[in-house]
């Protein structure tokens, strides 16, 4: 249980979902680490994508330049082309027309370029996202079971949904926005300086004000967003717990209390959300109107300058400058709007890379599994073949999940080829842990476990696992047809093999009764099937794989005893000649084992066959007869 506690705690500390990094700092900060993360994200662009991305950036420069040219255009057209014509008797519109045609050409170019770079960006961002996803998924397949055991499913899922979503927002929205905004800002800045240095000074002053406000408001809102995130987490956890237990709520008529508990959390979430959004919402109107204020100030200052003829400001130049200044503040406030998204995306990227940087399962095994003439052999690197017999031994094995508390202590056991070995013992006695060591979900020191005399750490992991069939209490079916689910054990199984396996597991009868038989689509939780039926399917899945050694961990716990008797015949046929490890709390399942091992607190306290153990009158006897001696 201790790992569960730590897991829970870390989950609370981290908070879940987006905005966590901003939350941790309490204010918006883009430090060295963010730059590194960003660099790594960009590293996903390689070859063609990188080329396309650079092309898109280059094209963006074109549109930025055109848009700057366009904002001076109105000024020039008034000053240079219209004003001279005003009052003339026979105005010559030809120069004006030429100017307009020229601009029209530029505009057309800009529109075409705009169209293309947007399409390119769509391609690039989606390809990169796909790359990120597939990298994540591929790497995840290599991670040890420890990784999955130490995290709630929800946390891992949220990397694929929330975190990648935020990166997607960054890729397809923020980056193009910020880049084109920056380009516009820079080009307009030079255009403004060209017209008037003094007026540009006024503009810069407002930019400073805007920056300060963004940092201040953005920081405050980030703080509230993190509070909101926590509150949301509490609300979700409560809703999830109560909804999962809704049947209990109803059986106890506990609806009113369930509502009251919910209301408290809902109210809290409302307050936090309202506050967080309030600050974020205030940002835009403030920015826009600072732009407006600046406009007025510029008009007054510039107007005075124009009237007095200071610094060569003319009406036309002032008009151009005013337009430029509007176009200048708009991208600046655009950038300030993007900061939150960038911070969230980088927080997401942090979690993505955390998974990618997680150390994969170590596999130094060189011994491989080969099948010749229907028999399995272990093939060592020097080419010698050892026949797979299923002789599994554990020698003085100690094991701990956390490093301090021993879960298994001094375990010695052997399974001779073809034997059925059963483990019994209470929850937490270490039954499942033993099987976790045999298939190397967790590792022990060299020599601890041997398989046909070979140290299992020397066997290639995939091959070791191929030689071990497992049926677990948690059935974990996959969305797809019944046949697909059985075929999971052997992808190339024929229909006949699938049906034979189902018959062996006594699943054939109920499958036949389903609306579409073997082609019936079930979902991952198998909610259309009873728990017992799911277990039958999972037995069939193992049977079709035809593994030389089997591990059955509470494989029939939800199957009724009468059906179990029916499966038993099939199972016995399946187990014949194979080494089998069985974990069960129903003693009738394990009675006919060659050896029954009774575990308590990680130690073996009794061993022997059914009759031996009854004769010992120890724990097993007590359990079997329900009597305390």
């Amino acid at each position: 249980m201790s790992d569960k506690e730590t897991r829970k705690k870390s989950n609370e500390e981290q908070g879940r979902g987006p905005g966590t990094m901003a939350a941790a700092h309490g204010k918006i900060r883009l430090d060295k680490n963010s730059v590194k993360l960003f660099g790594r994200l960009m590293g996903f662009m390689k070859g063609r994508e990188l080329g396309l991305f650079v092309t898109a950036l280059a094209l963006m420069i074109v549109t930025a330049l055109v848009s700057v040219r366009s904002s001076t255009f109105t000024g020039t057209i008034i000053d240079d082309y219209i004003k001279p014509l005003v009052g003339t008797a026979d105005p010559d519109f030809a120069p004006l027309l030429r100017a307009i045609m020229f601009m029209g050409g530029l505009y057309l170019l800009s529109i075409i370029v705009n169209f293309f770079y947007n399409r390119i960006l769509v391609n690039v961002s989606n390809s990169v996202l796909k790359k990120i996803r597939i990298t994540l998924f591929k790497h995840m397949q290599k991670l040890p079971i420890k990784y999955f055991d130490a995290r709630p499913y929800g946390d891992i899922m949220s990397i694929y949904t929330n975190d990648v979503d935020n990166i997607r927002e960054l890729m397809s929205n923020s980056i193009p926005n910020v880049v084109s905004s920056l380009l516009t800002v820079v080009t307009i800045f030079f255009a403004m300086i060209k017209i008037s240095v003094a007026l540009t000074g006024v503009v810069l002053a407002t930019v400073v004000v805007m920056y300060v406000i963004t940092i201040f408001l953005g920081g405050a809102s980030a703080k509230y967003f993190s509070l909101r995130q926590k509150s949301l987490g509490r609300m979700n956890a409560y809703a999830e717990e109560l909804l999962n237990g809704i049947k209990v709520v109803k059986v106890f008529c506990h609806e009113e209390q369930a509502k009251a508990g919910f209301d408290v959390r809902n109210e809290d979430l409302f307050r936090k959300t309202a506050k967080a959004n309030r600050l974020a919402n205030a940002l835009m109107p403030i920015m826009v109107n600072i732009g407006n204020l600046q406009y007025v100030v510029l008009a007054m200052v510039g107007g005075a300058m124009a009237v007095n003829g200071t610094a060569g400001i003319t009406l036309g130049k002032l008009a151009a400058f005013l337009l430029l200044s509007r176009n200048f503040t708009r991208p600046v406030s655009m950038i300030s709007q993007q900061i939150n998204t960038v911070v969230m995306a980088l927080a997401g990227a942090g979690r993505v890379f955390e998974l990618i940087d997680e150390a994969p399962e170590v596999d130094e095994g060189k011994v491989t599994l080969v099948k010749e003439d229907g028999k399995y052999f272990w093939k060592s690197p020097d080419g010698t073949l050892t026949e797979l017999k299923g002789d599994i031994r554990m020698h003085k094995v100690d094991f701990s999940y956390t490093g301090d508390k021993l879960v298994l202590e001094d375990i010695d056991l052997f399974a001779k080829p073809g034997q059925k070995i059963a483990f019994v013992g209470s929850t937490g006695a270490g039954k499942t842990t033993i099987t976790n060591l045999i298939n190397r979900f967790y590792d022990v020191a060299d020599g601890g476990v041997t398989y046909d005399g070979i140290n299992i750490n020397d066997i290639k992991k995939d091959d070791l696992r191929r030689s071990l069939g497992m049926v677990l209490q948690e059935t974990n079916l996959f969305t797809g047809t019944i046949a697909d689910n059985i075929r999971f054990g052997k992808p190339d199984a024929t229909d006949e093999e699938v049906i034979a396996a189902a018959k062996l597991a006594n699943a054939h009868d109920f499958i036949e009764k389903l609306p579409e038989g073997y082609e019936t689509v079930i979902n991952g939780t198998g909610s259309q099937l009873s728990q017992g039926q799911c277990q039958l399917l999972s037995i069939a899945r193992c049977a079709v794989a035809d593994p030389p050694v089997m591990i059955l961990d509470e494989a029939t716990s939800s199957v009724d005893t009468r059906t179990e008797v029916l499966i038993q015949r099939g199972m016995d046929a399946l187990m014949h000649g194979r080494t089998t490890f069985v974990i069960a709390h129903r003693l009738s399942t394990v009675m006919n084992s060659n050896a029954i091992i009774v575990l308590e607190h990680g130690k073996i306290i009794e061993r022997g066959d059914h009759d031996d153990l009854l004769a010992q009158k120890g724990k097993y006897y007590q359990l079997y007869t329900g009597k305390t001696e």
């Binding site: 005003v86 809704i246 329900g626």
Partner: protein, 576 residues
Amino acid sequence: MIKRLAKCIREYKVFTVLSPIMVVAEVVLSVLIPLYMADLIDKGIDVGNMDVVRSIGFKLLILAILSMVFGVLGGIFASTGAAGFASNVRRDMYYNIQKFSFSNVDRFTTAGLVTRMTRDITQVQMCYMMLTRMLFRAPTSVVFALVAAFRINSRLPLVFICVLPVLAVGLFLIMKFAFPLFEKVFSLFDKMNTVVQENVRGIRVVKTFVRENEEINKFDSVSTEVRDTSVKAERIVVANAPLMTFCMYACMLLISWIGAKMCVNSSMTTGQLMSMFSYVMQILMSLMMSSMLILMLTMSKAAAKRIIEVLDAETDIAQPESPVTEIKDGSIVFDDVDFAYGSAKPCIKDASFTIKSGQTVGIIGGTGSGKTSLVQLIPRLYDVKEGSVSVGGTDVRELDLETLRKSVAMVLQKNVLFEGTVAGNMRWGNENATDEQIIEALKTAQAWEFVSKLPEGLEAPVEQGGNNFSGGQRQRLCIARALLTQPKIIIFDDSTSAVDTATERAIREGLKTTMPECTKMIIAQRISSVKDADMIIVLDNGRISGIGTHDELMAGNTIYQEVYDSQTKGGDFDER
């Protein structure tokens, strides 16, 4: 759809109304600004009158400040309104779920309900906030800018009217082609998430069968599909930007050409032409915003639909019109009952039997034989399809639901403890239970022996799902919780499967002495659990294959005999 959700606004109507008002005020002001700008240039700068420049400039300053104030207020109102709206929707959903029958819950699945209450609501909340802020902004902005433009010149803005249809048709086409694609993208996302989720949950199975590569291929194909469809959808949407720029630039060019001629023949001033340009920009920006808004709306449409499904789901187990609020005793009568989940094949057929108050009844049957379905009809968790179920002589459909459920305690197969303390969980059964009563119930359920050993005793913490207790301990706690309701009927749905036989026997004996009046129904897989019952019902494939005492069934029921033979005298394992 909007109407249904709007019902949830309630007390936040003020904010929802105020926010657009503020926004409209802000927009009006920001439209006035360029108007005064024109004056400032024409009447002030052109004629070199600094007094006019100052007085108009001053007005402009005030307008900008007011516009900021309105803008900020609008944002604040919008966020409060949206958060309030979301909290109301969430509460309405949750309250309605509390009314759900079991079959409602089955239909939505608990996971489905959770996502609806969390992700979907967040999405709708964002959309709502955008709506209150933007819905009025864009149209008002367009209208006012147009009015202002017409005031300056009555003919020039007509240019704009010519461009508008192009824009409208373009936008319409974009939406029309993009929407179905986006819908497809969303469903693909669901599919992709399912692959990840099943993989993470079933990682042991994946590794055991060495199926990593197949899983990667599966994920690769769905993520490729996601990429390709997203690219298709987004490519259409990004056409929006060039379309907008095209319209904007076209207007600018036309206006400069026509405007120039007007300026030359003195029907317009250059200052007015300047203002005209800024109105063009304003109008097109607003339209661009509206197009984004429409896109966002459709994206939230799916979420809104899923929420409304929950809001509008009617419980199919309704309180009777004139409910009987008294239950005489714990007798149960099943009269020719047929039952099926939804439209599935019936899973209970022709069930008839009578149980006298205070009897102990065992139910035995194979996997999927309908044991759980049968007993769930007693507290009316589901309704029968045919026939009737009576408790205390009254049809359950005529009984007050709360009275019925308080009289029928049920220990479910998949039982749940809630985060809190042991005592807190126990009081679910009876809010006003004293510590003594709780201890009494714990003793009967054979749970006191381990609870008393906990350092905090009754106040010992319970983790979510009761994970800090073993399976057998959880089951005993759940039994104690049910006992505290002091029911007339108590049903154990395979709820001692993780408890060893000796303890189970002690529980049964405890029940007999502490609650002799109470009817006890025990679903079990072990013959030993029901052997001493007054009556045992054997179910097979939804039909009653035999009713009788242990000895009678041993003599005449083959299924019962088979079950018996399959068990002989095996015990179960649990920690002691």
